[in-house]
C-alpha cells in the first residue's frame, strides 16, 4: 500500500538520524575506554543504553540483522556490567564493538539510500557470543543462562539483589486454587508472580509456561498454582499478599527449608529470576570518569535545516528593511531626535537578533575532530605506527555548512600525515624524535575567519622532490631557487600530483589533495602549507566565518553599483597619467611599486555605458585571488558596507565574474563581483 510508505518516511528519517547519532556516540566512548584501558560504570551504562535503543528501534523498523547484533552486544556489556572484577581483553572487545558499529553504519547508509539493509550480521554475532563465552570461562563462571538466540523476545530475568547472602531469606511454598469459573487462571497466576517479585528473590512456579500455554489453565484448575520462593519478608506479610488475590478459593502456604522436588527440578533447568532492569548497581558508587555526552542530551533539540535557513533569510530581510526605514531618503535633513533615538534602539535590537540567529547555525568542530580519533586508531594499528592525536580548540564554532564540507578534507589530511608524514618507529628513534608520533588538530578564531590547522611531527615535505616531480609533469617553468617554499608546496594540491612511487591502500594516487582543495574552495576557504624537512608539516585551512554576509566595497560603474568583497581587495587609488601603459596587443597594465598588474575595465567587461573612460577620471582597485593580482577600473567608490549575499536566480545563467547579488539599503540591487572569475578571463 502506498499509504504505508508515506507514513513510514518520517519514522525512517528519525530512525536514521538517531542511529547515526548513537553510533557516533558509541564510537567515541569506545575509543576513549580503549585508550584508558578501563570501562567506568557510566561508560558501561551509556553503551548499554545505546545498544538497547538501537536494538529496539531496529526491531521496530524490521531491521532484524541490526537488532540481533545489537542484542548480542548488549548481552556482552550486560555481563560486564553485572560482574565488575572481570578481566577484559580490551582490544578484542573494542575491535568487535567497532566492527559492529561499522556494520550498523553501513546498513544505515544503505537504508538512507533507499536500498535494502541486507547485510548479514551472523559472523559478528557469532564472534560476540564466543567472546562472551571466553570472558565467562576465564572468569570461572559456569554458564547457567541458555540464551537462545533464535527467540527474539527472550525474556531473561535478572536478579536485582546481586549478593547471594541467604541469611535472612526464608523459603516458602504456596499452592493457590482459584474459584471455579473465574476463567483466565493463567493470567491471574501471572499477576501473582508479578506482584510477588518485589518482595522475593528466587521464584519458581509450576506450571512454568503460564502465559503462552493454554494447557496451563487446565493444570492450575486441577492442581492449583504451585509457587516456591525465598524472601526476607515475614510470613505474615507474605500471607497477607497472597490472600489479597482476587478469586482466591484456597491458599496453602508453608515455610520450608528446602524446595520440594518438582521446584528443585525447575531450578536446575532454567534459573528464572525476576527482572528489574532499571535499578542501577548499588554497590558501585565510586568516582567514575565523567563521560560528557550523557549530560548534554536533554538540552539539545534537533531542527530541520530548512527551517533555520528560512529564519536566517527572514532575519536578513529584516536587517535590510530596518536600514530602508531608518535611512529613508524622505527623512533626510529632518531634525527628528526622538525618532533617531528610537531608530538607534531598533538598530541595536536587529543587530542582536541577527547575531543570535547566525550563531544558531554555528556548531562546534569537536564532533568532526573526534571522528578523526577513529581514523588515527585504525591507521596506526594497520601501519604499526604509534600515533597520538592532540585536539586543541574544539569548542570553536563554525557554520553547519562548513562542517559538512571540511569533514572529508580533514580526514584526508590526517590520513596523509599518518601515511606519508609520520615515519616508522625505528626511523623516529634514529632521528632523536619521541617514539610516539603526534598529530595536532587545532581550530581557532582569528578576525573574521576560522583557522583549522593539521600539524604533524613527521618527516616534512621534501622541496627538491616535489620540484622534480612537478618538473617531470611539466608544471614548472622557473628554476628551483626562484620559487618560494609556499609555491612549491602548493604543487601538491594539483590534481594527479604525488611523489609516491607506489599506491597504497590509503594514498598515493595523487587524487586526494586536489579534492581537498576543491572542497575548501567551495566554502570560500584557502589552504596554505608549511613544512620543514625532518621536523614536520603544517597545513592551515582558512575559512571565512559566515557565508551569507560579507564585507564589501561599493563601487559605481555607470548607472550600476557593484560590490567587491573586501577580502579580495589589496588597495585602491587614483591612477596617474603616465602610470598606465599598454603592451603590443593592447592589454593595459599599470606599474605599482615596481610590479606590473593587468587592468580590467569593468565597463568594458560588462558592457556598461559610462562616461568615465579615461584612466585618470576613475579609480583603480587592486584585487587579488589565490595566485595573482590585478587592477579593476571603476568609476568611483561609494563606501564600505556589510551586505547579505543572495544567490542569483538559477534561471539566469551565471556570467563569469558575478558571484551573487545583494540588496542595498535603499532597495537597489548590487551585483557582487567574483574576483576569481574576472581574473580568469
Amino acid at each position: 500500500m502506498s499509504g504505508d510508505e508515506i507514513i513510514r518516511e518520517p519514522m525512517l528519517e528519525i530512525y536514521i538520524f538517531e542511529a547515526t547519532q548513537l553510533m557516533e556516540q558509541l564510537e567515541e566512548i569506545s575509543i576513549e575506554c580503549e585508550k584508558n584501558k578501563e570501562i567506568g560504570t557510566e561508560a558501561i551504562n551509556e553503551i548499554f543504553r545505546v545498544m538497547h535503543t538501537i536494538k529496539s528501534s531496529s526491531a521496530m523498523m524490521m531491521f532484524n540483522n541490526i537488532a540481533v547484533l545489537a542484542h548480542s552486544l548488549e548481552d556482552l556489556f550486560y555481563y560486564i556490567r553485572e560482574n565488575d572484577a572481570v578481566n577484559i581483553d580490551f582490544e578484542k572487545l573494542f575491535d568487535l564493538v567497532l566492527f559492529g558499529i561499522d556494520f550498523i553504519k553501513g546498513e544505515v547508509s544503505k537504508i538512507e539510500n533507499n536500498n535494502n539493509a541486507d547485510g548479514s550480521s551472523e559472523s559478528l554475532v557469532k564472534k560476540s557470543t564466543s567472546l562472551l563465552k571466553d570472558m565467562k570461562e576465564t572468569n570461572g563462571v559456569i554458564i547457567k543462562n541458555d540464551l537462545s538466540e533464535k527467540r527474539e523476545d527472550t525474556k531473561y530475568y535478572i536478579s536485582s539483589y546481586g549478593n547471594s547472602s541467604n541469611e535472612n531469606k526464608q523459603k516458602y511454598v504456596a499452592r493457590i486454587f482459584y474459584e471455579d469459573g473465574c476463567e483466565m487462571e493463567n493470567v491471574r497466576a501471572y499477576t501473582v508472580i508479578h506482584n510477588l517479585k518485589d518482595i522475593v528473590s528466587e521464584m519458581y512456579h509450576i506450571p512454568e509456561d503460564i502465559i503462552e500455554s493454554n494447557d496451563s489453565v487446565e493444570l492450575i484448575r486441577k492442581n492449583g498454582f504451585l509457587i516456591g520462593f525465598s524472601t526476607t519478608a515475614i510470613k505474615e506479610k507474605v500471607e497477607e499478599e497472597l490472600n489479597g488475590i482476587v478469586f482466591l478459593r484456597e491458599l496453602e502456604l508453608q515455610q520450608v527449608d528446602e524446595f520440594p522436588q518438582e521446584l528443585k527440578a525447575l531450578k536446575a533447568k532454567t534459573k528464572i529470576v525476576l527482572e528489574d532492569p532499571e535499578e542501577p548497581m548499588e554497590s558501585n558508587k565510586e568516582e567514575v570518569p565523567h563521560i560528557n555526552k550523557s549530560g548534554k542530551q536533554q538540552s539539545i533539540i534537533s531542527v530541520n535545516i530548512s527551517k533555520l535557513d528560512m529564519l536566517l533569510d527572514l532575519v536578513g530581510e529584516i536587517v535590510i528593511s530596518e536600514a530602508m526605514v531608518t535611512k529613508n531618503p524622505d527623512l533626510e535633513g529632518l531634525q527628528l531626535d526622538d525618532f533617531n533615538k528610537a531608530a538607534r534602539q531598533l538598530r541595536k535590537l536587529t543587530n542582536e537578533l541577527q547575531d543570535i540567529v547566525m550563531s544558531i547555525r554555528m556548531v562546534p568542530v569537536s564532533m568532526t575532530f573526534h571522528k578523526m580519533n577513529r581514523i588515527v586508531r585504525d591507521m596506526s594499528k594497520k601501519q604499526n605506527k604509534d600515533v597520538e592525536l592532540e585536539i586543541i580548540g574544539e569548542e570553536t564554532e563554525v557554520d553547519k555548512n562548513i562542517i559538512d564540507h571540511i569533514s572529508d578534507p580533514l580526514m584526508h589530511l590526517v590520513r596523509n600525515s599518518l601515511d606519508h608524514g609520520l615515519e616508522e618507529e625505528g626511523e623516529r628513534l634514529a632521528s632523536d624524535k619521541p617514539k610516539v608520533g603526534k598529530i595536532t588538530l587545532e581550530a581557532k578564531n582569528a578576525g573574521g575567519d576560522v583557522f583549522i590547522i593539521v600539524r604533524d611531527d613527521g618527516r616534512g615535505l621534501d622541496r627538491k622532490k616535489i620540484y622534480d616531480k612537478a618538473k617531470l609533469q611539466g608544471l614548472v617553468n622557473k628554476p628551483l631557487e626562484e620559487l618560494t617554499d609556499k609555491e612549491i608546496f602548493a604543487y601538491i594540491l594539483l590534481p594527479g600530483f604525488s611523489t609516491n612511487d607506489s599506491v597504497t591502500e590509503y594514498s598515493g594516487r595523487g587524487v586526494g589533495m586536489d579534492v581537498v582543495k576543491k572542497n575548501i574552495d567551495s566554502i570560500g576557504g584557502t589552504i596554505s602549507i608549511e613544512s620543514e624537512i625532518g621536523q614536520g608539516s603544517t597545513i592551515s585551512i582558512k575559512i571565512p566565518l559566515t557565508l551569507a554576509i560579507i564585507d564589501g566595497l561599493e563601487v559605481a560603474v555607470g548607472m550600476s553599483k557593484y560590490t567587491i568583497p573586501i577580502t579580495s581587495i589589496r588597495e585602491s587609488f587614483k591612477p596617474k597619467e603616465n602610470e598606465v601603459i599598454a603592451d603590443s596587443e593592447g592589454n593595459e597594465m599599470i606599474m605599482i611599486r615596481g610590479e606590473a598588474y593587468l587592468i580590467y575595465r569593468l565597463h568594458q567587461i560588462f558592457n556598461i555605458n559610462t562616461k568615465v573612460t579615461t584612466s585618470t577620471d576613475g579609480i583603480m582597485v587592486m584585487v587579488e585571488d589565490n595566485t595573482k593580482a590585478a587592477c579593476l577600473f571603476v568609476d568611483s567608490l561609494i563606501g564600505e558596507q556589510q551586505v547579505v549575499v543572495k544567490a542569483i536566480p538559477t534561471y539566469i545563467k551565471k556570467a563569469k565574474g558575478i558571484a551573487g547579488c545583494t540588496i542595498l539599503g535603499d532597495g537597489n540591487i548590487s551585483l557582487i563581483i567574483d574576483v576569481n572569475g574576472i581574473l580568469d578571463r
Binding site: G316, S321, S560, I648, Y651, A655, I658, C661, I669
Partner: protein, 164 residues
C-alpha cells in the same frame, strides 16, 4: 487512498482552470493561465546583469526576493517601447522558478471555456507558434494563449538555432 486524494486535488484545481489573465503587447492580446501568475506589479527599476540575452532585462528586488525579468516585446522580436506608467510586470511562477514579464498593459481576467479554444494553425515560418498553445475566442476578439514553459525554456533552442 491515493486516488481519492487525486480527485480532491483535481476538483480544487478546477476553480482556477479556464481562467486567463489577458494583457496586450503591441497590437496583440495575449492570455496566460491564472494558475501561473503570482502577482502584478508596476514597472520599477531594473538592475542590469551582463552577458544575458537582450530580452532578459535584468533583475528586480521584489520584497527581498530577486527575480529576473523578461521583456515580452523583445522576446517576440518587436521594437522596444519606452516604459510608461501603464507598463506592468506580471510575475509568474513555473516549477519553482519565478520570472517577471514586462508587458505594455494588463487587461482583465477572463473565463475561456475549453470549447472556445482552438489549437494554433501550423505555420512553419512564424516562430510565435512555439509559445502559443491555443487561440481563445472571447466575444468578437481573439486572444493568443501562451505556453509558459516554452516561453522560459526555449532559450536553448534559440541559441542553437542562432549558431546553426
Amino acid at each position: 487512498m491515493a486516488e481519492i486524494l487525486d480527485e480532491v486535488m483535481e476538483t480544487a484545481e478546477d476553480t482556477q482552470k479556464g481562467k486567463f489573465l489577458t494583457f496586450s503587447v503591441g497590437k496583440e492580446a495575449y492570455g496566460i493561465e491564472i494558475k501561473f501568475v503570482t502577482e502584478i506589479i508596476g514597472i520599477q527599476d531594473i538592475t542590469e546583469v551582463p552577458e544575458l540575452p537582450d530580452y532578459v532585462k535584468g533583475i528586480i528586488n521584489l520584497r527581498g526576493k530577486i527575480i529576473p525579468v523578461i521583456d515580452v516585446r523583445l522576446r517576440f522580436k518587436k521594437e522596444p517601447k519606452q516604459y510608461n506608467d501603464r507598463t506592468c510586470i506580471v510575475v509568474i511562477n513555473i516549477k519553482e522558478t519565478s520570472v517577471g514579464l514586462i508587458v505594455d498593459n494588463v487587461a482583465e481576467v477572463i473565463n475561456i471555456e475549453d470549447s472556445n479554444i482552438v489549437p494554433p494553425p501550423q505555420i512553419k515560418a512564424g516562430f510565435h507558434n512555439r509559445y502559443v498553445r491555443g487561440i481563445g475566442k472571447v466575444g468578437n476578439e481573439v486572444k493568443l494563449l501562451l505556453d509558459c514553459d516554452k516561453l522560459l525554456n526555449d532559450d536553448e533552442l534559440d541559441k542553437i538555432a542562432d549558431i546553426v
